[in-house]
Amino acid sequence: MSERIAAPIPQASIQPKSLHLKRRHLEEAVFVALMRLCMLSAAAALSMILAVILWRGIGALSIEMLLQPPRGSFYLGGGGGIANAITGSVLLASGATVASFCLATPLALYLHVYARRSRTAIWVRLTLDVLWGIPSIVYGAFGFTVMVFLGLRASLLAGMITLTLVVLPILGRTLDEVLSMAPRQLLETGFALGAMRLEIARLLLRQTLPGLFTALLLAFGRGIGDAASVLFTAGYTDNMPGGLLSPVASLPLAVFFQLSAPFPAVQERAYASALVLTIIILVISLAAHLSMHRLGRYVVR
């Protein structure tokens, strides 16, 4: 019996000496270095963006900038701030996030609990993917066409609705992914205990709550940064938001208008506005990550 088992090759020491082994070590080192380089470039992009807007914008950032709407001479270097754009953007993004969440959650639940892998589900997912890929300026143009047809003017409401269309496929598809992470046994357990499909949907929501919340926050972050969809539909104004049917300003457009001004002082304000926008998105993203853990108390892993 024992002759048939290959005897271990005697080794002089455990130091890596053979050429082959050396080559494998080298290969490993090279590829690890490459992967680190890729990670570094992603991190570098974020740090450089942050550095540039901090460097150019921090000087113009002031309490006045945050809390006051622009005065008459704002775009010539006069006083005032971007409070109109901050509130406008927050209102636009909140409205769009809430509206698309109300549409996307039932949609995603239906896909998972009822449609499952049916033909309907495949088509709905494809539709969402296509909608996701459409540039937001197209949504803006579409919204504008509808507004003209209905004889409406640019307003907070029109902006919210258009932005909802932009965010809906993103949120729908993200929620779809979040729900698909729920263990299959959850459905089986619920059904075995005599649950109806709607009650299974509630179980799914409970299980995926942290993911749902994260998706919601990320959708908000996506919505607040979009310029093209609100350009024609929400319009722009130097006034604070005055109601659903009047136009509102938004941060991305504030950046755009200030940056196109020929005065360096105003251009600095563009960077300050960009800084405000970036900080909002940064905070939202951080909150999204933290909430994953806070809400995950009962989640089955």
């Binding site: 357990t189 619920g190 075995a192 005599g194 409970r206 009962y298 089955v300 892993r301």
Partner: protein, 249 residues
């Protein structure tokens, strides 16, 4: 007496036939063990008994499963009703994403029981599975904090709380450590005279310890069904003999 009977059951996954002409009756208030090698269709048979099988994609089921003489696959049958009369203890303990108390209360809430009833039944079931003393001070804690063995006992309490007549166990001790497995096994033995228990196991010794009736399956067919004593001492079919001698499987 039989409370559950299978008549001419055939199951296909896509083109592949998983069960062939199964005819079997499960004795009331006894433990029936379905044994056989992996892939022989024993889990498929078990899951066809409470209509969980149809959750799989691409599955085709023909034949009858009679619960007190009524076919659970008949078109006018309410599947929710069927599943609350036939409970399932899964292979891997799976707590629902909620507290210990809410886990046991889940099925009761679905049935619309009152708060008082729920509180009483939850305690009774947790006592019945020997978990009450261990968890009574932390009923609001997430069920996922329990150990594997405790989770499986919790799952049993949750299943029994719905008050099913029949209990299906799908290799319910397979994922547990030996000590916890023994605990769950003893629990099942103690339920013998109260429930019709149908268990799938790949562990012949477990079947020997627990079963009143044994059903042996092979490649989607039912080879032999006999009372345990007879099954193990004098198996009739050659395949059964070979399996018991561990020459096949």
């Amino acid at each position: 007496m039989y409370s559950l009977a299978v008549r001419q059951l055939n199951v296909w996954y896509g083109q592949q036939q998983a069960l062939r002409n199964i005819n079997v009756k499960f004795s009331e208030r006894r433990i029936s063990a379905i044994i056989g090698p992996s892939g022989c269709g024993k889990s498929t048979l078990l899951k066809s008994l409470n209509r969980l099988l149809e959750l799989n994609e691409n599955v085709r089921i023909e034949g009858q499963v009679l619960l007190d003489g009524e076919d659970i696959y008949a078109p006018d049958v309410d599947v929710v009703e069927v599943r609350s009369r036939i409970g399932l203890l899964a292979q891997k303990p799976f707590p629902l994403p909620m507290s210990i108390f809410d886990n046991v209360a889940y099925g009761l809430r679905l049935q619309g029981c009152s708060q008082r009833e729920i509180a009483e039944l939850v305690e009774a079931q947790l006592r019945a599975v020997g978990l009450w003393e261990e968890v009574k001070d932390r009923l609001k804690a997430p069920a996922t904090r329990l150990s594997g063995g405790q989770q499986q006992r919790l799952c049993l309490a949750r299943t029994l709380a719905v008050r099913p007549e029949i209990l299906l166990c799908d290799e319910s001790t397979a994922s547990l450590d030996p000590l916890s497995a023994r605990g769950v096994e003893e629990l099942l033995a103690s339920l013998r005279n109260h429930y019709t228990i149908i268990m799938v196991t790949h562990d012949i010794d477990q079947a020997r310890r627990l079963a009143d009736d044994v059903i042996f399956m092979w490649l989607g067919e039912l080879i032999e069904q006999a009372p345990a004593a007879q099954f193990f001492s004098a198996p009739q079919a050659e395949l059964t003999q070979a399996y018991l001698m561990r020459r096949i499987g």
